[in-house]
Amino acid sequence: MATSQMSRPRAPVAPHSRVTPKWLTGYTLAAPAILLMLVIFLYPLGHSFVMSFFRWDLNSAESPFLGLGNYTDLFTGTSFGQTLRNQVVFTVASLVIEVVGGMAIAVLLSSKLRGLRPARTLLLIPPMVAPAVVGLNFRWLFNEQYGLIDAVLVKLGLPAIPWLSDPGWALISVIIASAWQNTPLLVLLFLAGLQAIPREPLEAAAVDGASAWRTFWAIVLPLMRPVVVIAMMIRIIDLFRTFDVVWLMTQGGPGNASNLLTVEAYKLAFQSVDFGHAAAVSYVALVLSLLVLALLYGLPRLTGRGSAWQA
């Protein structure tokens, strides 16, 4: 628009001058999206990073600089260690259950089965349901007085399990709910990966009389490696961001028994109105997930197999 008026001295009036330079078109097209992300994403992120070094709450008029105060408070406080431990247990256990379970189911389903197509459609439902609904639904299923699961256990002559009131079981309950939602996603991803595996090595293995187990370990798994790494990355990113399911099932309780980093940050910010500490917690979460991802990203590269991101 304005460019036509700012006629440049070097460009004489010619039909070609109407054409804006390619770089300008490029940047103009990309600018709105990048601007929005900068403003809504990066600016607040920087803002909260800075504020994690200040006192920042509703009560005090000033926000004095605390240095690493908010961070040291976390690590010297009583409960944050437990929250970190929960996060590690939650992440590792979920990852193992979902990846191993997802792979096992995908391998078993990868042959030609009747009803596989509708089954795949149905498997798409849990990952797409709102985690908030999953959390509330499982809270109801796990209810010790009126819930279905304990009722079934008792009917079978087994002891009822204190799913949500016992500190040990609470974290397990949350892991179960999260695994219920996400394992089907991995099944679908792995099924897609398995279909892309070339048939020749598998047929060769069958001719050699290799057992299914050996074929899986020696041929299928190595070929599936990029898919598995991507799936793990997706899940790690999400596991470090998990909030809804925990918030609606246990609010991190009893005590801190099922508290995760995001839940802790939310509680600090909106129950204690303490944004400084909350920002510090969210940065711990961010750094930790980046660290884990860097490991995952670096490992395949170190072993010389190429990184998953290139897949």
């Binding site: 809504i40 609904v133 007085q145 009126y146 990113i237 470090f240």
Partner: protein, 293 residues
């Protein structure tokens, strides 16, 4: 299933190739059926719960099937809770986010895929990292920034935030689809004298229709499902969405299970619709490496 009973009645299974294969096949069907049942049953239970009367909810022992089916809980969510507001806000927020994301992501993805400009690599790397940021790290500062400029508790504030947080995934997805297009098509359009924008809208966009659809469906569902952003950035029925409405059933007074189940069922409806009618796009989007944003 038939294979299982067959095997069970055989007195001494001789392990030939054939029976082994039958057992294997039977096992596969068992796994298939079990997986599907496990995946679906909790939602069926939610539906059953939402159709019970309030006093039967708290019956001990638990009744598997409701003695009578009632829509009372659905009536309650609309009469005693602001469910109509929540639904309306959710629809407006999700659709506006999809529109904004699509309009912004397509040109950006096109530039990243086709233009060799300085800075493009940096942007792509930053996009990747942005997908990893915990939403809470964004929500807390946005809360304070938005409260300063009056965007808190508004639909607009929520749409802008959702759009920004879904953009990285959408750009990434569309970029992958554009890269798969043969360049010749665009070049021939260029010869015809089409400008970049015309080319993008009339040539590229139709060709990557499935990619745009996949990105739109995912953006819609992840916006529709989001709790954390809406929970932090809204505080009244002016902008609260369905998931936040859901948490309003969990107050310090406890949980109103009946209406909550009804609201939960209502929340799942779009999910089911998309899974049914747009599963191809959903799978494409997910497999192309989409990450919840």
């Amino acid at each position: 299933m038939a294979g299982v009973t067959l095997e069970a009645t055989r007195p001494a299974p001789v392990r030939t190739r054939r029976t082994g294969a039958t057992v294997g096949l039977a096992a596969r069907y068992v796994v298939l059926v079990l997986t599907v049942l496990l995946s679906i049953f909790p939602l069926v239970w939610l539906l059953i719960t939402s159709l019970r009367t309030s006093d039967e909810l708290f019956a001990v022992p638990v009744q598997l099937l409701p003695s009578s089916v009632t829509l009372d809980q659905y009536v309650t969510v609309f009469t005693e809770y602001e469910m109509a507001d929540y639904v309306w806000n959710s629809v407006v927020v999700s659709l506006s986010t999809v529109a904004l994301v699509t309009v912004l992501a397509l040109p950006c993805a096109y530039v990243l895929a086709r233009f060799r400009l300085p800075g493009v690599k940096v942007v792509i790397t930053v996009l990747l990292i942005m997908r990893m940021i915990p939403v809470i790290a964004l929500a807390i500062p946005l809360f304070s920034v938005f409260s300063g400029i009056g965007l808190l508790d508004t639909v607009l504030g929520l749409v802008l935030t959702h759009a920004a947080s879904k953009l990285p995934v959408a750009i990434w997805l569309m970029m992958a689809f554009i890269q798969d297009l043969p360049k010749e098509i665009e070049e021939s359009a260029e010869i015809d004298g089409a400008g970049v924008l015309r080319k993008l809208v009339f040539v590229v966009a139709p060709l990557i229709g499935p990619g745009i659809a996949a990105s739109a469906v995912l953006t819609f569902l992840f916006t529709w499902n989001d709790l954390l952003l809406a929970l932090t950035l809204t505080s009244s029925e002016a902008a609260q969405t369905l998931p936040v409405g859901l948490t309003n059933f969990v107050t310090q007074f406890g949980i109103d299970w009946g209406p909550m189940s009804a609201a939960g069922v209502l929340m799942v409806v779009p999910t089911l619709l998309f899974v049914w009618f747009a599963q191809g796009y959903l799978v494409k989007g997910l497999v192309a490496g989409a990450v919840r944003g």
